[in-house]
């Protein structure tokens, strides 16, 4: 630790010295950083300010973007529809071993799955067990309409590994939690979360001859179950 303290002192001192040196010189002409106010949020004033944007518009922007980034989505009303949709998605994908997060709704849905599935709980799931899962089910705390992004917060749910390791990720998201923009979402997330994960579609790479392959280290498929508000 002592060596790091010494390094810190030297680095900070080097920074200050060099900044002082540069203050004696002239600013080069040409690049004006603009009259932009620092830290000012972007053009998006947020849903409260906008007011007029319909919830329906936000949801349809969101689902449009989900499709564009290669995620699947199903709108469901209530837990029963969600359970039915979940079973359908898993069956169609041939997923048998399913693990659900600690979110109460997920627990209900996963435990309600029929005997055709092997239901794992996150509690006591070994590393090998995790890697053997075919699908992970979590909720998402927020959605971002402009990019079709899911926002997962570690402070709210144990969703980090289940949304990453199994090749299929099913996420339940309430339509009332869809924000317009990234800036919007960043303003809403809890700083108490030590891990906030933004997920936009399945994992992908173009590293080999620029050919797109969907499904690399992260999930190959992302399904979003959009829970509509009860009127």
């Amino acid at each position: 630790m002592r060596r790091s303290d010494e390094a810190r002192r030297e680095i900070l001192s080097a920074i200050r010295e060099n900044l002082t040196r540069s203050a004696r010189g002239r600013e080069p002409r040409g690049i004006a950083p603009g009259s932009a106010e620092l830290g000012k949020p972007t053009a998006d004033p947020g849903p409260a300010a906008r007011g007029s944007k319909e919830r329906g518009d936000v949801v349809s922007s969101f689902t449009e973007q989900l499709a564009a980034v290669g995620a699947q989505w199903t709108v469901v009303r209530g837990a029963t529809e969600a359970a039915h949709a979940l079973a359908g998605i898993l069956t169609a994908a041939g997923a048998r071993r399913v693990a659900g997060s600690d979110a109460p709704l997920v627990q209900r849905l996963v435990s309600g799955l029929g005997d055709g599935f092997v239901r794992e709980s996150l509690e006591g799931l070994s590393r090998d067990g995790l890697f053997a899962c075919d699908a992970g089910v979590t909720t998402a705390q927020w959605g971002i309409a402009e990019t079709g992004t899911l926002v997962l917060e570690s402070a709210r749910e144990k969703n980090r590994l289940l949304s990453l390791v199994p090749p299929i990720h099913v996420a339940l998201l309430s339509t009332s939690c869809i924000c317009d923009s990234l800036g919007d979402a960043l303003a809403r997330v809890s700083r108490a979360s030590h891990a906030i994960t933004l997920i936009t579609g399945p994992s992908r790479t173009s590293d080999i001859e620029l050919t797109l392959v969907v499904g690399v280290h992260g999930p190959q498929a992302v399904h979003v179950l959009l829970l509509e508000e009860e009127p």
């Binding site: 390094a7 810190r8 990453l164 891990a195 906030i196 590293d207």
Partner: protein, 458 residues
């Protein structure tokens, strides 16, 4: 001159040139299309540059703020003055935690400090997990592009490589090859005791580090192993959490033409309770390694605004022809040509600032408006002033002569007329080997002016 030799080798490699042409063209088109979906692209560039400028002018303060907040959230922050110190810190952490294998996600800084060699020397096996970096590591090569490190390899070459190193059957199918890499690496993720990642942005206000990616390997690297080490250059810090938005608007679009990459991980300290998910320890290594020196002048300070998007590589007519290896550095292309001499010394690569036609395409596409041509010109002046380059004596003489002649218009005219009459031209084999040389005009403009073009009698 190593650059010369490597550039010529690259130019002779038809397959490489085809791959580079395709990649740079495609990325350019995707970037162009992505700009259209950005709300106020130019405004975003200006805002981002302003944030970077503000941060760099108070870098000491922001680094301290970041460090304090990161530690308050449970991370340990280490400061490293140079590559050796950073390798020592990380090596020690790995050893102390009994790590035999280390999984790594994309980190250019880790290549800069030669971390893999340092770990290997301690008997620790570093495993690159980004597909392109993995391929390059298996091949014993270095990356040739910031975003697509293995762009110089064909799928056939990769298939042969995987067949040899992973024991799989030869296959022409890219999805199959990718699947093989996924399979091989999955166990490594599960077993590694330590994960090393880079950092795209570090937020001073909250002590948060942000890592962007498409593959999911960075998430695996930073959430499965018990210990996570995040290595970052000191220039990665930005002031506020809200500032992330503008950079996330600029970076994915500039780098790959995406509005957002598949994953962004925002990591602040470590978990509060042992039963929560994620590493028990987070070590953040702040690397100087020559960056603080760049703060000494406004023109060089802007080098530190770089967000490593790779857009300048894709726009550069020189990079398009020769690729990344010719630059002989972890940082290739236009930004590499200015970072490499500044980080590693002008003496090591005095020719890099000259490996450019100064066209300015890089400046056009840089999301934070770094004036790379101005930087190149500044470094060229440094090379001349400090005599960093070899074989400069003849050139100095030539330019001294040129200045003396151009100060004397009559002498200038006389010399040209003499050259024209005697049919003497300077030895320009470097021109005439490929291009016809336009002869000196039989009557120069000024001769024609005097002969009547002026309107006055000659």
């Amino acid at each position: 001159m190593t650059f010369d030799r490597h550039a010529r080798a690259a130019l002779a490699d038809g397959q490489l040139r085809g791959a580079l042409r395709q990649a740079t063209t495609l990325f350019g088109e995707r970037r162009q299309a992505a700009l259209a979906t950005a709300p106020d692209w130019e405004g975003a560039r200006d805002r981002a540059r302003a944030i970077k400028d503000e941060t760099l002018l108070h870098l000491d303060r922001y680094l301290d703020e970041f460090s304090a907040n990161a530690e308050r959230a449970g991370a340990r922050v280490h400061w490293a003055r140079d590559a050796a110190e950073a390798c020592e810190v990380i090596g020690r952490i790995a050893e102390q935690r009994g790590a035999r294998t280390v999984v790594k996600s994309k980190s250019m800084a880790s290549e800069e400090i030669h971390l893999n060699a340092a770990l290997t020397a301690r008997g620790i096996e570093p495993i690159e997990t980004d597909l392109g970096e993995y391929i390059v590591q298996l091949a014993g090569e270095t990356p040739s592009h910031i975003v697509v490190p293995a762009i110089h390899k064909t799928k056939r070459q990769i298939a042969a490589l995987f067949a040899a190193k992973l024991g799989i059957e030869l296959s022409d199918d890219v999805a199959t090859l990718t699947g093989a890499a996924r399979q091989a690496l999955r166990r490594r993720f599960a077993e590694a005791e330590l994960g090393v990642s880079g950092v795209n942005f570090a937020v001073a206000e909250t002590g948060t580090i942000l890592i962007l990616e498409n593959e999911g390997n960075a998430r695996l690297t930073t959430s499965l192993p018990r210990t996570h080490v995040a290595l970052m250059g000191i220039e990665k810090v930005i002031p506020r959490f809200a500032d992330l938005e503008v950079f996330l608007q600029l970076l994915p679009r500039s780098g790959t033409g995406q509005a957002l990459t598949a994953y962004q991980s925002l990591l602040t300290g470590v978990k509060q309770r042992p039963e929560d998910e994620g590493p028990a320890e987070l070590h953040i290594v702040l690397l100087d390694n020559g960056r603080s020196r760049m703060l000494a002048a406004p023109v060089t300070r802007q080098s530190l605004a770089c967000i490593r998007c790779g857009a300048c590589l894709n726009a550069c007519p020189v990079y398009r022809q020769i690729g990344g290896h010719a630059y002989g550095s972890v940082y290739p292309g236009p930004i590499g040509a200015v970072l490499t001499p500044q980080l590693f010394g002008l003496g090591r690569s005095p020719e890099l600032p000259y490996a450019s036609s100064l066209c300015g395409a890089c400046r056009d596409v840089c999301p934070v408006k770094i004036d790379i041509p101005a930087l190149l010109l500044h470094l060229r002046a440094e090379v001349v002033a400090t005599r960093a380059g070899k074989q400069r004596a003849l050139e100095r003489l030539a330019f001294a002569g040129y200045a003396a002649v151009m100060a004397r218009p009559r002498l200038f005219e006389w010399l040209v007329r003499a050259a024209r009459m005697l049919r003497v031209m300077p030895p320009l084999g470097a021109w005439t080997k490929w291009r016809d040389l336009r002869p000196l005009a039989p009557r120069s403009f000024r001769e024609q002016w005097r002969a009547g073009l002026s309107g006055k009698a000659p």
